[in-house]
Subunit: 192 residues, 4 copies
DNA sequence: TAGTAATCGAGACGGTACGTCAAGTCTTGTC
DNA sequence: GACAAGACTTGACGTACCGTCTCGATTACTA
């Protein structure tokens, strides 16, 4: 039994993997850096050297698994593209096994400004920017009323979904996503 | 020196008051039942007898200060009524000194199902129900398109606001509220 | 279901019975007045009205079961009488189910002067006095050397037994009692 | 202000010292690990890491102060040697400022088997063994009757002393020690 | 016989301490 | 110099009892 001596990026990766593993088992509240370090076979120092808090560590760990969802298609059909992208995001945040951790991370952001900022900069804002960019492309092609506020459109799209996810806890079904899309398009459609 | 012996409702009220006081000073994360009990001059048991967790205690404490915001006016002018009610809620949750605590409570709800449920049943759901009821009244008077989904309308109204409050952290200005209302009414208006 | 209302001596008796019951189940350390009151179906006040401490309550409870052992026979045969009496006491304190409680009570007496005094006055001293009295009777009949210190004899008899009981924990067998008696009589016998 | 970081044996020693200090001030019953840790400027964990219970801690603390009393002289004069050794022990256990703590420790041993065993193995048994060894040496030199049970002799010597110390509370004077010794030697003397 | 006092059960109360857990810092020795 | 291991102080957890204290029933004695 050789106690493998690892270093650098390997360790970082291993710690994040362990964080997600343990996080899924215990839930965010019972997750501790102590336990993560122990399970990963790593000194606590090695964790603290890399991340300043449990929230920051979880954020990195989650994002390392979600890079894929950031791609945005442009098939020419705006509605289909939005739909597809949202479903992908919903599947990740609301459906998959990491959903509780993601929700807890948003929770943590409520009292940890560092986490809030990082979460915004590295996940929320890029996603929003891409949605807005896709909407702009559509508007430039005359598919949307030219005077509709596209930032607002993005908020009307995202808001109700996060509202369900974080507040009412109602399920985020595909039907619900479609209903939101319907309502949004009804308001955004170019007036003849 | 008479060590005043308090009981029942007095104590409950005093503990909740202390909770908000200390919560504002320290923030939710550093708030502890230990400290609350000490500051309130009360045994820890006396707190635990009443509330199962820090979150539950904070929820009660906050709600005891927010009963007022629940009233909903019906002046005949739907838009004005919605506007007024939302501004009142926003002032409470996003502007006032209790705003950070309220946000943290929503955060806590992400990993404490008990808090989530109570928050929903006692604050979110009643507010939503009143909004929907107001919308129904308007629809029955022909002010709204009869086939518009009013639950969805409520979500489109609340969603973007909570999105800003909890996720992006952008300010919840009156202008923003108006923009959301505009977009909503554009979609809900009866088609000629 | 009539919640029987008891009073006075009945209650006192019932509480002591419960004390011994629970004490045997839990051991002295884990025994609490709280639990005794609950098990006896009695308010805590009702216990505190009667006894000032757990030790005092246990002392009374134990003595109420040990009155019998106090009798001392005088059959004319000193050695046989001592033997019989000691065996009876040993059976009670070192063998029976109450032995651990009795030992704990002596333990309690080490830091509770009230218990120490009561234990002495109501149990130890009377027993010792009777032993000494029996020895005096024997001496007056010429069975013992007239110049032997009878208080010391009593201590040489009791000491080694309590030493085993409380300190070394070795078993208090009949053989051991006999050995002590032999040694004592060797020293006390009248010199021809 | 350098918050001196101590470690290992230093800490162990400091905690034991504090234990005796506080124990003398408060008495065993009111002594708490909480208070010891606080007074020693140490985390509670640091105490619990070393000792499983208050009793175990006190035992170690007391023994660390009593190593001296264990030596046994052999001057050739058995009686004088016994006398000297017993007086030393009595001075420590019954006279000095640690006497109440020692008595309480014996009390604790009555309901904590771990303490009982450790007390026996580390204090009582070694002392007894040395006494017996000294007696054996004397017997081998013909100073004692060859058929006298030396374990019993030790018990007859110790028993009455502990009996006074723990049970009757009468003072352990030098005269009393001498009386016990006289009686013992009367029984142990070789028969002509 | 009515009124009053004592006693009861129940359990809330302010405390103190328990023994556990994790936080974040620091030290030690290995690779 | 990075690492594992883990000791350290700190502080909070949630629990258990302590001994005191109300609170309404009963119950029994007194007027």
């Amino acid at each position: 039994m050789t106690p493998v001596r690892r270093s650098g990026p390997d360790l970082t990766e291993a710690i994040m993997r362990t964080t997600l593993e343990l996080g899924q088992e215990l839930g965010y509240a019972k997750l501790s850096i102590e336990a993560i370090a122990a399970r990963a076979g790593v000194g606590k120092h090695t964790v603290y050297r890399r991340w300043p808090s449990k929230g920051a560590l979880l954020l990195d760990s989650l994002l390392s698994r979600s890079a894929s969802a950031l791609d945005y298609p442009d098939s020419g059909d705006l509605r289909a593209d939005l739909r597809r992208q949202i479903h992908e995001a919903v599947g990740l945040l609301a459906g998959g096994p990491l959903s509780p951790l993601f929700k807890s991370l948003v929770g943590e952001a409520q009292h940890d400004p560092g986490v809030a900022e990082a979460l915004n900069e590295r996940f929320i804002a890029p996603q929003a920017a891409k949605t807005v960019a896709r909407l702009e492309a559509a508007r430039d092609q005359g598919q949307l009323s030219p005077d509709f506020d596209l930032d607002l459109a993005m908020a009307i799209l995202s808001g109700p979904l996060y509202f369900r996810l974080l507040i009412t806890g109602e399920p985020l079904t595909p039907e619900y996503v479609d209903r939101v899309l319907d309502a949004l398009f009804a308001g955004m459609a170019p007036r003849p």
